[in-house]
């Protein structure tokens, strides 16, 4: 890294600097138009199907309704994975991200809270309007997963039992709450006066950013954080300290058998969002190789994940599944270093809140 920094400095020294600073707004505009808006809209459309899927499986839990619910849930997880790392603007407003999915949750806060909620048959859990004022942990996809799937990844929502009515009412409230939030997020990104305006009026300075470069840096660093989350939070806990200590239950959405869907979704999402920033023309020739290298590594990681047999709770100890995920973790570290150090260095983007700006 030190050598690379020197290279960058040397490069800067011999290059004629442009008379005006680069305007990064077109890059941000492209990201919003070609990635954020379509993906948040897709998430809203998919999530809108959840309430009917809950109603159907709760009305008659036959093979067709169970399958429909599983598909609706899985597609919602997939589309959530495409947007969850966009940790700015509409996803943060009103605590939406925590309410959509309470992650990470290594100590089982959600499970404890849901147990209490079920034991007391808390009526506030039965409508989206009152659920949204309760703890963020009991509101979202992670809560719905605990309610709707058993430990073996089978759908239990709608099964006959004394708590069926309450569980179904609560699951419906969650799904309506999710649909409402997803719609608000999509609308927020469509709103020309919303957060997109904050990103797109940064050049020359606005209340949030001094320059469009600063706005681009904030977005770029959020994508890097997405990769850190994917590796450190979503993959490493399941790998544990060795093959004999692997914990497949620690993959996000493992209970519903959607871990691969989620991991692939977030990796493809970060890759596509980075691509949508379309930074190639701003990259010095010596560093253009990074884009192919990054796409190659994303492809490797996704290929390894897609070769796994979900649900991982049942398959993670078989064959070479553990080794494949180990390679995914190594690949994610390499991707993070390439993007956060080499690409950011080549583009002269600042990153790392404490690393950059300590005291």
């Amino acid at each position: 890294m030190r050598r690379l920094l020197f290279a960058v400095l040397a490069f800067g020294a011999v290059t004629v600097q442009p008379a005006f600073a680069t305007d990064y707004e077109p890059k941000l505009d492209n990201l919003i138009e070609t990635y954020i808006q379509p993906q948040t809209s897709a998430f809203a459309e998919t999530t809108a199907k959840l309430p009917d899927a809950v109603r159907a499986v709760c009305s008659t839990a036959d093979a067709a309704s169970v399958e429909t619910f599983k598909t609706a849930y899985s597609e919602t997880v997939r589309d959530f994975a495409h947007v969850h790392f966009l940790r700015f603007g509409p996803l943060l407003d009103n605590d939406r991200l925590s309410r959509l999915a309470f992650l990470p949750d290594p100590r089982g806060i959600t499970q404890r809270q849901i147990r209490k909620l079920l034991a007391s048959e808390d009526k506030d859990a039965l409508s989206a309007g009152t659920l949204k004022d309760k703890s963020v942990a009991v509101q979202g996809l992670t809560a719905l997963e605990l309610l709707a799937f058993d430990k073996n990844s089978a759908v239990r929502l709608g099964q006959e039992g004394k708590d069926k009515a309450f569980t179904c009412g609560y699951a419906l409230a969650i799904s309506e709450n999710l649909a409402e939030m997803a719609a608000e997020i999509a609308e927020g990104w469509q709103d020309p006066d919303g957060y997109s305006a904050v990103l797109l009026t940064a050049e020359g300075g606005n209340e949030r950013f001094h320059t469009s470069k600063e706005a681009l840096e904030s977005v770029f660093n959020v994508l890097v954080t997405g990769l850190i989350i994917a590796r450190d939070q979503d993959v490493l806990p399941a790998l544990g300290t060795g093959k004999d200590k692997a914990k497949a239950t620690r993959f996000p959405f493992s209970r519903s058998g959607n871990s691969v869907v989620y991991l692939v979704g977030e990796l493809r999402g970060v890759q596509e969002a980075l691509g949508a920033l379309d930074l190639m023309d701003l990259t010095p020739n010596d560093f253009v190789w990074i884009y192919n290298a990054v796409d190659f590594e994303f492809g490797n990681a996704v290929g390894l994940l897609e070769a796994l047999q979900p649900p991982l709770r049942q398959s993670f100890e078989d064959g070479d599944a553990y080794d494949k995920v180990t390679v995914v973790a190594i690949t994610l570290k390499s991707l993070r270093d390439t993007i956060a150090l080499e690409l950011a260095g080549a583009l002269e983007l600042a990153g790392g809140f404490n690393a950059l700006d300590g005291d």
């Binding site: 940790r87 991200l97 992650l103 806060i109 404890r112 963020v136 300290t241 300590g358 005291d359």
Partner: protein
């Protein structure tokens, strides 16, 4: 100066007030009620304080529990840095990052507005401070920038309003962190050695001649008991952050201002009457740290020291009595470190995570990642 403040809570009020709190944006992310209800002894819940930056650009100081859940957020007028916690743990003072001029006194368990302090004319805060043993006085590390000398502002905290009643010279330039020694009277100050002036922002004005020290001062007389400098070859190692070990020695983390290719020692141990000791960071690790230590913290019993190195994405652990290197934990942009108990540390990072480290040979456990928060340089155990 505007203090943007969320309503403080009584400790018992944490539970009682939840229904109302859940509707306040600042608290709606909290899983407070249930996570605390599930515990046996509410009063024993460890709490931590850290400054943060929000994604929307706002700054504040937050209280989190040992599951990493944000229980309270108090907005600050600008970027915060260190926090001084009163001996009875009922209040804390969050200082502005240098060269800021505000400090905010928070009583997190009482229903009172935080009090905003403003630095005297001609002074700015350096970001750290500490209380006297009886909690009546606050010592704030300040810059007398016209004279280019460090001072400790002395504040009377016992009245209805905080009053600045004097100052103590630190006998150095660019003081940074401050500790009260176990004798309850000696103040230990790290004079980082770097001259700055608010007219020039954070520009370093004396790198060629800087001369950092760790000084042991008598809080009652202002006398210097002793002042230790490192070897002249290390005069560019700015001595900045400190923690006391179980023997009352100050562990000090440095930030090197010399050539990037040098690999100087970065962590030393200072005591009043003995020459400083320097620890050795294994070369393979040292080369990745960019010669920068962010925070220094001791575990509850003072026999393990943690030193974070955010530019290297590593936190290093030391055996306090021997100075032996115990290992390192990789945490991207990790900087704030607080002791949870004798056996573990909570580490905060700029990507929002709060991670538990109980054993440097095991991966850190990410407990929580409150969205939109970047934890700033330091975290402190409040209870």
């Amino acid at each position: 100066m505007r203090s943007m403040v969320t309503k403080p809570l009584s400790r018992r009020g944490f539970l009682a007030a939840l229904g109302g709190l859940a509707t306040l944006p600042a608290f709606s992310g909290s899983t407070l009620a249930e996570s605390l209800l599930s515990r046996q002894a509410l009063e024993d819940v460890p709490l931590f304080v850290s400054a943060y930056k929000l994604e929307n650009g706002d700054y504040g100081v937050g209280v989190v529990d040992d599951l990493g859940q944000v229980l309270a957020r108090i907005s600050l007028p600008g970027r915060g840095h260190g926090v001084a916690i009163s001996p009875d743990r009922t209040r804390f003072v969050a200082f502005a990052r240098r060269p800021g001029t505000f400090a905010v006194v928070v009583r997190p368990f009482q229903d009172v507005e935080p009090e905003v302090l403003t630095a005297e004319p001609g002074r700015h805060y350096y970001g750290h401070g500490c209380f006297s043993a009886d909690g009546k006085l606050l010592y704030a590390v300040e810059n007398d920038y016209a004279a280019a000398r460090g001072v400790l502002g002395v504040y009377d905290m016992s009245g209805r309003q905080v009053q600045r009643i004097g100052e103590i010279e630190t006998h150095g330039i660019g003081p940074h962190d401050l500790l009260l020694a176990p004798d309850g009277r000696t103040l230990v100050v790290a004079n980082g050695g770097i001259m700055t002036h608010p007219d020039k922002g954070r520009e370093k004005l004396n790198l060629d001649t800087m001369a950092p020290t760790v000084a042991f001062l008598d809080s009652e007389t202002g006398d210097v008991h002793s002042s230790h400098a490192l070897d002249a070859s290390l005069h560019q190692l700015s001595l900045r952050h400190m923690a006391l070990d179980g023997q009352g020695r100050a562990w000090v983390g440095g930030q090197f201002q010399g050539p990037e290719t040098d690999l100087p020692p970065l962590v030393g141990v200072f005591s009043r009457d003995e020459a400083p000791l320097l620890t050795e960071i294994p070369t393979g690790i040292a080369s990745g740290l960019q010669n920068y230590i962010g925070s220094v913290t001791a575990n509850a019993s003072g026999d393990v020291i943690a030193t974070s190195a955010p530019r290297g994405g590593q936190t290093l652990f030391w055996k306090a009595d021997t100075g032996a290197f115990l290992g390192a934990e990789a945490i991207a942009d990790g900087c704030g470190v607080a002791p949870i108990d004798q056996g573990s540390f909570l580490i905060s990072d700029g990507n929002g995570a709060l991670s538990l480290v109980g054993d440097p040979t095991q991966p850190a456990e990410i407990l929580a990642r409150p969205p939109g928060i970047s934890w700033d340089n330091h975290m402190f155990a409040l209870s």
